[in-house]
């Protein structure tokens, strides 16, 4: 069973780094974007997506199989990962 994971992040946010590191260490493939590292013209659109999903301005925004988790919260990540019985 493969999990689909997407991480919205900011390059300035240490918890975003830890979240990516956690997925890497756990051997779970993910896609991600550092919103503030995009070309300026694309930043607003990516940020809006993250804001819509999360209902706020906080990063990281982690989407696991369509479920949205806001913040670096490994317990919550596990709940939603099928490979871990979530």
């Amino acid at each position: 069973m493969t999990d689909e994971v997407f991480i919205y992040a900011l390059s300035t946010c240490p918890w975003c780094r830890r979240t990516k590191q956690w997925f890497t260490d756990s051997g779970i493939a993910f896609d991600s974007v550092d919103v503030d590292s995009l070309p300026v013209a694309e930043q607003d659109e990516a940020a809006e997506k993250a804001y819509k999903l999360s209902g706020g301005r906080r990063f990281p925004v982690v989407v696991i199989n369509g479920e949205v988790i806001v913040g670096h919260n490994p317990d919550k990540f596990l709940e939603h990962l099928k490979g871990w019985g979530g």
């Binding site: 300035t12 946010c13 240490p14 918890w15 503030d36 301005r57």
Partner: protein
């Protein structure tokens, strides 16, 4: 002012602001250093030490609520976590900041 000096002056300014609110700088010095460095860069690029862990919208009324320290505007949420969203500031009684989870305001 050089970046290193600016970082120190933000550290000093902000410690004074958060103290009456019951917060202190995180004892995780590496984290504090990294975050303050990001804020100095954000201030240079965008005119204010915006939060490194929250996104701007270019609407002034919204963006001013995430200039560091943003604790006055997110108090209930941060009090519930015993830390600010970035973890730059923690409640005064916190000695092990890594044990504090990061969760959104509606999941207190």
């Amino acid at each position: 002012m050089g970046s290193a000096e600016r970082k120190e002056s933000l550290r000093y300014l902000f410690a004074r602001v958060v103290d009456p609110l019951g917060y202190k700088l995180t004892p995780d010095e590496e984290l504090a250093d990294f975050l303050l460095e990001q804020e100095v860069k954000l201030e240079q690029d965008h005119g204010a030490p915006f939060c490194p862990c929250q996104g701007r919208t270019r609407k002034r009324a919204e963006d001013m609520l995430i200039v560091c320290p943003c604790i006055p505007f997110h108090r209930e949420h941060f009090d519930a976590m015993k830390r600010c969203w970035c973890g730059l500031f923690v409640h005064k009684d916190v000695s092990d900041p890594d044990s504090l989870p990061q969760f959104p305001p509606d999941e207190g």
